[in-house]
């Protein structure tokens, strides 16, 4: 038993080191374009402003409306989660998986499959865009403004819950992307499909209470945007029930397991283009 554990530990440590190496490679690549950091930071603030603008108009003097059940500060938390996840998507998930699509089209995925490490791990960590991290700042600004408006600070437990749910959201997002990339084994030209999925993700901008009936169900279970942005915001507000927390965990585990299975099946289908 202890032998198995040691083996597991050793392999975890190995993957940890591999992740470090991949990250370093991406960082070195980005260091060539240092000036981009500042430009990206400014642009991400612009985009964060466009994400907030509709809320600001809804709650503004002319309309004086509100999203049913959500005050401005609370709704801003949802947008904050949305901006955060979009950053993860643009900075870590999208660039890596874009390279898989390239590999499949050119037939160079063989070289990745030959390496003595898990292929899904290798392709998922192939490319990061560290400069996109500047829009984390944008999401932090949104969180800060939201809490200043609400006039309270979440307890340590709520922070922990919020962080856990955001982590689950990242896993969900990643699993969805694995599905899309697995589609690349069949239809080859899929970069547009990832584009489509990121526009569907836009729905996560609003608290899920704007949806009615079947749509609310779809955006909780089929395309789980409600789990990704509304639930973490609720956790930070301290109003997430244990049932909802359990739901998020179960859903995430199912999505992750299924995506791993889909990936393994797709790999088996893969016939390299060159041979």
């Amino acid at each position: 038993m202890s032998g198995v554990l040691r083996l597991l530990g050793a392999s975890m440590w190995r993957y940890f080191k591999l992740l470090g190496i991949q990250l370093k490679a991406s960082l070195l690549l980005s260091m060539q374009y240092r000036a981009d950091f500042f430009i990206d930071a400014v642009i991400s603030l612009f985009w964060a402003a466009t994400a907030i603008a509709p809320l600001w108009v809804v709650y503004g003097d002319k309309v004086q409306g509100k999203i049913p059940g959500w005050s401005l500060g609370e709704a801003m938390l949802v947008v904050g989660c949305f901006v955060f996840l979009q950053t993860v998507l643009d900075g870590a998930i999208q660039p890596s998986l874009q390279t898989v699509v390239e590999h499949i089209r050119k037939g160079t995925l063989d070289f990745v499959l030959l390496k003595p490490a898990d292929a899904q791990f290798l392709v998922s960590t192939a490319r990061f865009q560290p400069w996109k991290a500047s829009s984390f700042l944008a999401s932090l600004v949104i969180f800060a403004v939201a809490f200043a408006r609400l006039g309270f600070w979440p307890s340590l437990g709520n922070w922990a819950q919020g962080a856990l749910l955001l982590l689950l959201a990242v896993v969900l997002l990643y699993s969805l992307w694995i599905w899309v990339v697995s589609a690349a084994f069949i239809v080859v030209k899929v970069d547009n499909l990832t584009f489509l999925l990121s526009s569907v993700f836009d729905i996560g901008r609003w608290p899920s209470s704007v949806f009615r009936g079947i749509l609310r169900w779809v955006f909780t279970f089929v395309i789980p945007t409600a789990l990704m942005t509304t639930f973490p915001a609720k956790a930070l507000l301290g109003v997430l029930s244990w049932a909802e927390l359990g739901l998020a965990v179960v859903c995430t585990v199912i999505f992750a397991v299924v995506s791993r299975w889909v990936w393994l099946r797709s790999i088996r289908r893969y016939t390299s283009a060159s041979s």
Binding site: I39, I43, F46, W47, A49, T50, A53, P54, V57, V58, G60, D61, K62, V63, Q64, G65, K66, I67, P68, K189, N192, L193, F195, L196, S199, V200, D202, I203, R205, W206, S209, V210, F211, L215
Partner: protein, 269 residues
């Protein structure tokens, strides 16, 4: 001019064939324009509970919000261009030199390229337009003559988008890449064009800023015509302002392009 007219049919044919070849990409691009629908969901849910009053004193209920954002989707399909991305790519790769060799200004070929994508985009936009009319509920006693201004307004909107793309695209010669400038332009477009909310709902001071910027003339103004939410005299003034922007951005494009071509050295071409 006569030469151009002679070339035009074949240019259009080639462009259209290209678009047919990439029809899947085009379709996905159209389907990925989900933002109007994302906004529609938000505004419908707000309008169900709170009375919202538009610029002409009309109520904006859930139905009117649906109208507004369906119109936004349709107009966005008509007034779109991607010349800036094309130009950035060709300037970086040096393939712009191929275009320069042809006996036709590259600006015109970019414009024709954009135009030939229109039929395919209309395949999706027209059903949406049909739903728009089938929903009914356009205001009683509204000024139906506004529809006559629509073709001119759509043309004006498209030209503003196209010239903006070409001006920014020309900047790539000087800066290496102008994609980031385009992103800033897009962000401003989102906020000031009426893409995210009817501009009537903007606070007055921001509305007056939006009035002098080109963005509302790209999209918001044609949408207001389509939803019949303007008075005739205001509409005519807005149309005049729109075409002032067309002329201004057209001149800017000419200027930047001429300077840019003189500077352009095909890398490795």
């Amino acid at each position: 001019m006569k030469r151009l007219l002679k070339m035009l049919p074949s240019l259009l044919r080639v462009g259209f064939a290209e678009n047919i070849a990439y029809r899947a990409e085009m379709l996905i691009w159209v389907l990925a324009t989900t933002m109007p629908f994302v906004m529609m969901v938000l505004w419908r849910s707000v309008a169900e509970h709170f009375p919202i009053v538009g610029g002409m004193g009309q109520t904006l209920g859930p139905l009117q919000m649906t109208h507004y954002f369906l119109a936004v989707f349709v107009v966005r399909q008509v007034v779109s261009a991607w010349a800036a991305w094309e130009m950035n790519f060709e300037i970086r790769q040096g393939t712009l030199s191929m275009r320069l060799l042809k006996p036709l200004s590259p600006l015109i070929s970019y414009a024709v390229n954009g135009l030939t994508g229109l039929p395919l985009r209309l395949v999706v936009a027209l059903p949406v337009l049909l739903i728009f009319f089938l929903l009914g509920g356009l205001r009683d006693g509204a000024e139906y003559r506004l529809f006559f201004l629509l073709p001119l307004a759509l043309l004006g909107g498209w030209l503003i988008v196209l010239f903006a793309h070409m001006s920014i695209g020309s900047l790539a010669v000087f800066t290496g890449s102008s994609i980031r400038i385009m992103e800033v332009w897009m962000a401003a477009f989102f906020v000031f064009s009426g893409y995210l909310f009817p501009l009537d709902l903007f606070p007055d001071w921001l509305a007056s800023i939006g009035d002098v910027l080109p963005f509302r003339y790209q999209l918001g103004f044609p949408v207001q015509l389509l939803t019949l939410s303007l008075r005739m005299e205001d509409a005519l003034i807005l149309l005049g302002k729109q075409w002032l922007w067309v002329v201004a951005l057209g001149s800017l494009t000419g200027l930047l392009w001429r300077k840019g071509v003189r500077r352009f050295e095909a890398f490795g071409g």
